[in-house]
């Protein structure tokens, strides 16, 4: 049976030849993934079960202590510190994504409604921040939030912060920084969906007595779901692990899991614990995406 001639896209061939050819085409990609993703990944899992030596070196002694520590168990009893950091990361990623989505809808519709020529100018304006390093962009917020500028002055006048202090470090500064970093990741894919929108469906919904919310829910949301989905994943996943923005704008008290990981591999020199935290982050991200895809489908059906 294996050598039976079959017709595949206008070519006479056999199943075995097709399989060999396919494998040959895929071999590059497969080996890349194997060498740079799967092997290091496995090594990583291994490291997370290893022990830290007294001077920060790696000892290949099996232990589950790293995971116990992540869950908050230590010699001194249970503290939720690390769990709080993990939860805060989910929260920050969620709020960042939500705010980016809420801002991206009007932005995408605005750009899509411009004449074809100026549309590209607007799109470029969305992309331009990408050309600057994220650290520099984050530092820019230091200036924008400094005590001499109106934003901080307003906050001082309203009595939120004492005289002469900047508007950072705090949670709001982190969100400002995060949203400004991730907004294009939602806007660009969403725009590509909005641009292709079939307006006759919007008009049909209006014609059929829909309220504004129902028009959005039934005519716009289902049509923009593909772009929205890409945007949400592109924002949520990296936002979970980000560390530059919270580090600079959130201060030492506002630690996210990204900062925790960076600290373990950096100053603390505790690779095994860092690996355990990283795996924890990965699992949390996967669970979040799973919940999203389930809920997302429910919304589709609704």
């Amino acid at each position: 049976m294996k050598n039976k001639q079959i017709l595949w896209r206008g070519e006479m061939t056999t199943k075995a030849t097709l399989f060999r050819k396919g494998l040959a085409f895929l071999s590059g990609g497969i080996s890349w993934l194997l060498i740079f993703l799967i092997l290091p990944g496995l090594l990583f899992v291994g490291v997370s079960f290893a022990t830290r030596g007294d001077h920060g070196e790696l000892l290949w002694k099996f232990t589950i202590e790293n995971y116990e520590r992540l869950m908050g168990f230590s010699l001194f009893g249970w503290t939720p510190d690390y769990l709080i950091i993990l939860w805060r990361s989910v929260e920050v990623a969620f709020v960042t994504t939500l705010v980016s989505v809420i801002l991206s809808y009007p932005l995408s519709f605005f750009i899509a409604s411009r004449p074809a020529k100026s549309r590209y100018v607007w799109l470029t304006l969305v992309i331009v921040p990408f050309w600057t390093n994220m650290v520099i962009r984050t530092y820019a917020w230091f200036y924008l939030l400094s005590p001499e500028l109106p934003l901080a002055k307003l906050a001082i006048a309203l009595g939120f912060i004492p005289e002469g202090t900047p508007l950072y470090p705090n949670a709001i500064a982190v969100y400002l920084g995060m949203v400004s970093v991730f907004l294009p990741f939602v806007t660009l894919p969403l725009y590509s969906s909005v641009e292709k929108l079939d307006w006759s469906l919007v008009e049909a919904a209006q014609d059929l007595y829909s309220s504004k919310f129902r028009v959005f829910r039934q005519a716009i949301l289902p049509q923009t779901a593909p772009g929205l989905s890409v945007g949400i994943i592109l924002t949520f996943v990296p936002a979970m692990g980000t560390f530059v923005v919270p580090d600079l704008l959130g201060g030492a008290k506002y630690m996210l899991v990204g900062n925790l990981i960076q600290q373990q591999f950096g100053s603390s020199r505790d690779w095994p614990f860092g690996a355990a935290v990283s795996l924890g982050l990965m699992i949390l991200t996967m669970i979040s995406l799973q919940i999203y895809s389930r809920k997302g489908k429910e919304i589709e059906i609704l």
Partner: protein, 333 residues
């Protein structure tokens, strides 16, 4: 009523009354403003000036979702993520009608348009004709004051189109709902309508029953847009007009001194001998077989004559024609 987009005046002054319960058709070439007019009635466009009056109410500034007017879109615009049943129920659900009534009315709609087998399918599993029926049902279950149809048959093939024309007409007569249809297809307009408004360049040129607009076109545009028409240049004489191919008596004299007279190809009669009045001796230039008839192209005067399929003529044949005074129409500007 006037509608302008930017600097372009799409609709010039339009002043038209549609009677309750009639099948009214806006007929015209693309770009004549007929769709804009329909969208203004639907509330999807706002006129630059003028009013839309429904019954005794001025609905000009009422948004589309508050108007008791529903539309069958050219592309059908079915919601792709909803089943056929849910598509039909859409308007009723928007209005938060009680679930038992929704069920009853959707079932009635499904029944009326023969969609029983399709209720659970998704729009992309339907053919063009089926989608069109769903679109009709979706609009009609709302029992609108006016049903608007935007080129409802443009996406159907010729055979199905003829069927749908008859179905639409029958449906409208049965329901008694006011239908306003937009089309560029003269057959569609003639078959379905109680009255036709022929539009050109943002204005209604002529409005009347299909017989009126076809038999007595008011100008060259209407005569040529609705079917074939022979155009003959003429000068006004006594009791008739003088033309290059002879003098013709007319029943209704024109109000111009120089202009055009017209006669439909199928109304020209072929005679064995010279007729008493309005006769022309012509030579057959070409004869085209069209199944139901032959189209003859004749000299002089570039006359076009429609004969039955049994009458065959050869190029060069000489025949007598009678252009009856009652069938000759003098066209206005």
């Amino acid at each position: 009523m006037v509608k302008t987009f930017g600097k372009v005046e799409v609709l010039k002054t339009v002043n038209q009354e549609v009677r309750a319960g009639e099948f009214f058709t806006l007929l015209g070439p693309s770009g004549c403003g007929k769709t804009t007019l329909l969208r203004i009635i639907a509330g999807l466009e706002i006129p630059t000036s003028g009013n839309v009056i429904l019954g005794t109410d001025d609905i000009t500034s009422l948004p589309a979702n508050k108007r008791h007017v529903n539309m069958v879109f050219q592309s059908y615009a079915l919601f792709p993520h909803l089943s056929i049943y849910e598509n039909i129920a859409f308007g009723l659900r928007s209005r938060k009608i009680n679930p038992d009534d929704i069920k009853r009315r959707v079932e009635e709609g499904i029944e009326m348009l023969g969609l029983g087998a399709m209720r659970d399918r998704m729009p992309d599993q339907l053919s063009g004709g089926q989608k069109q029926r769903v679109s009709l049902a979706r609009a009609l279950v709302n029992e609108p004051d006016i049903l608007l149809l935007d080129e409802p048959m443009s996406a159907l093939d010729a055979k199905l189109r003829a069927q749908v024309q008859e179905d639409l007409r029958r449906l409208q007569r049965k329901l008694g709902t006011t239908f306003i249809m937009v089309t560029h297809d003269q057959d569609e307009a003639l078959v379905c309508s109680d009255r036709i408004a022929v539009m050109n360049e943002g204005q209604i040129v002529q409005c009347g029953t299909p017989e009126e607009v076809y038999d007595y076109p008011c100008n060259k545009f209407v005569a040529e847009f609705l079917g074939a028409a022979n155009m003959i240049k003429a000068k006004r004489g006594t009791g008739g007009v003088e033309t290059d191919i002879g003098f013709f008596h007319l029943d209704k004299m024109p109000d111009w001194s120089e202009g055009l007279i017209t006669i439909r190809p199928e109304w020209i009669k072929i005679r064995e001998t010279e007729p008493e009045q309005n006769g022309v001796l012509a030579t057959v230039e070409d004869s085209v077989y069209r199944g139901t008839n032959y189209d003859l192209f004749l000299k002089p005067g570039n006359l076009r004559v429609r004969t039955s399929a049994y009458k065959h003529f050869r190029t060069g044949d000489k025949i007598w024609l009678e252009l009856t005074a009652a069938d000759l129409v003098a066209l206005g500007e």
